[in-house]
Amino acid sequence: MHRFILAVLRRDLTLAARRRGDWLIAQFFFVMVASLFPLGVGPEPEMLARIGPGVLWVAATLASLLSLSRLFADDHHDGSLEHMVLSPEPTVLLVLGKSLAHWLIYCIPLLIIAPVLGIQFNLPWDAILVLEISLLLGTPILSLLGGVGAALTLGLRGGGVLLTLLILPLYVPALIFGAGAVDGVMAGTGAQAHLSLLGAFMVLSLMIAPWIAAAALRVSLE
């Protein structure tokens, strides 16, 4: 079982390593969206610190969405996806492996850049630390739920925009708990409650989303 997931993972990571442009685009997108906000709302440090957690979380969400439409699309295009689904291994594991690969390729780099942006937004160090933890707990949700959207919209015209429309409402709890945790630290109420809920939501997504995504993938490939 774990060998199949590892094989999917290794394959996707190798593909990503050979096409470096792909994941760099998502990271630059993250930086740019976050940098547009100070230009739009003004450079006052207090206000930036106030909106910072929310802005960084929204930007991270959008950056991970950007790459989701290609989660299955490339493999679907060259036909390898059908072979993987037809293989005797359960489709759930395929989806799980692919979501995990998406998380490692597109979301872990966000974690590395986020502190730099946090400094730009004048966040204190303890808030940046909580931002990192909340992103670590929250971004798997984005990859897992996004897998459902990517499977549902596989091969449709305008699939990318449609994917955004379908998945963004489902991201709301992750956004609220994630940004709320950072807000909580800055307001002095603590982040633990938000982080616990975020972790619970992550575990719930991990249990449910791959099954629905696998069902959706089979529907889309029929």
């Binding site: 409402p169 489902l170 609220i176």
Partner: protein, 244 residues
């Protein structure tokens, strides 16, 4: 003859044709009674004066918006589990009505909010969840519209409805929590004032009217969907010849 007879589109088409007038006339009758109760019988509210009367539209619409989503999720789950074509058709027939009720609930909520709270919109838990519910409806309808293949569209829509149904309670509580942290308790919707009995009756009559309206409209729409999908079959051709 058992319940499964009506799972076939042919028999259901005829059954729906017989049921539609009943539900339509009941809906019209109940709406008239309900509106009469709400506007002429129910007393003026002590605190909110006449403006409170919008709840006779608003509350039934909000109830229906959530209820229809659950019914859609139910039909989607039945369709996925038992592979019944009619269930998916029911889900598709219900979605536009659900989206319209969600929109009405938001719109009338804004009209009620302006005189009561002095704001068209506040980021309250209920309002925000209702808005996200509208997004979910729009997403499902957009997904159906984007998929040409009927079978794939049915199943994809059902899966999306299901994951949305799991998510709605989480969204509601997350938004509620977020709201209490951000806003303080400036506006509380939850302290329900004790309502005069006649107001409650008026609201219930309007809710049942909305319910019957939904059933009638969904049946009309499902008949259209059945005709469209079965257009190659003999019985549809017979009906079309008879009616043209």
């Amino acid at each position: 003859m058992n319940l499964y007879t009506f799972a076939s589109p042919v028999t259901f088409y005829h059954l729906a044709g017989k049921l539609i007038p009943w539900f339509t006339w009941s809906a019209i009758l109940l709406t008239v009674v309900g509106l009469y109760l709400s506007f002429f019988v129910a007393p003026t509210d002590f605190q909110q004066s006449e403006a409170y009367r919008i709840i006779f539209i608003h509350v039934p619409a909000a109830w229906m918006s959530m209820f229809i989503y659950l019914v859609m999720a139910f039909w989607g789950a039945i369709g996925l589990a038992f592979n019944t074509r009619l269930s998916f058709m029911m889900a598709r027939a219900l979605a536009p009505t659900g989206a319209i009720f969600t929109f009405i609930a938001l719109w009338t909520g804004a009209w009620w909010g302006k005189p009561m709270w002095g704001a068209w919109w506040v980021w309250d838990a209920r309002l925000t969840s209702e808005l996200i519910l509208l997004f979910l409806y729009v997403g499902i309808i957009a997904l159906w519209a984007a998929i040409d293949d009927i079978k794939r569209g049915d199943r994809a829509g059902a899966l999306l409805t299901l994951i949305g149904a799991i998510n709605i309670p989480i969204i509601y509580f997350s938004v509620k929590w977020w709201n209490t942290l951000h806003q303080g308790a400036s506006i509380s919707l939850t302290k329900a004032p004790s309502m005069a009995k006649i107001m409650l009756i008026g609201m219930l009559v309007m809710a049942i009217a909305a319910w019957f309206y939904t059933i009638a409209v969904a049946l009309v729409r499902v008949r259209g969907i059945i005709l469209e999908r079965e257009r190659q079959s003999e019985w549809v051709k017979e009906i079309l010849e008879r009616e043209t």
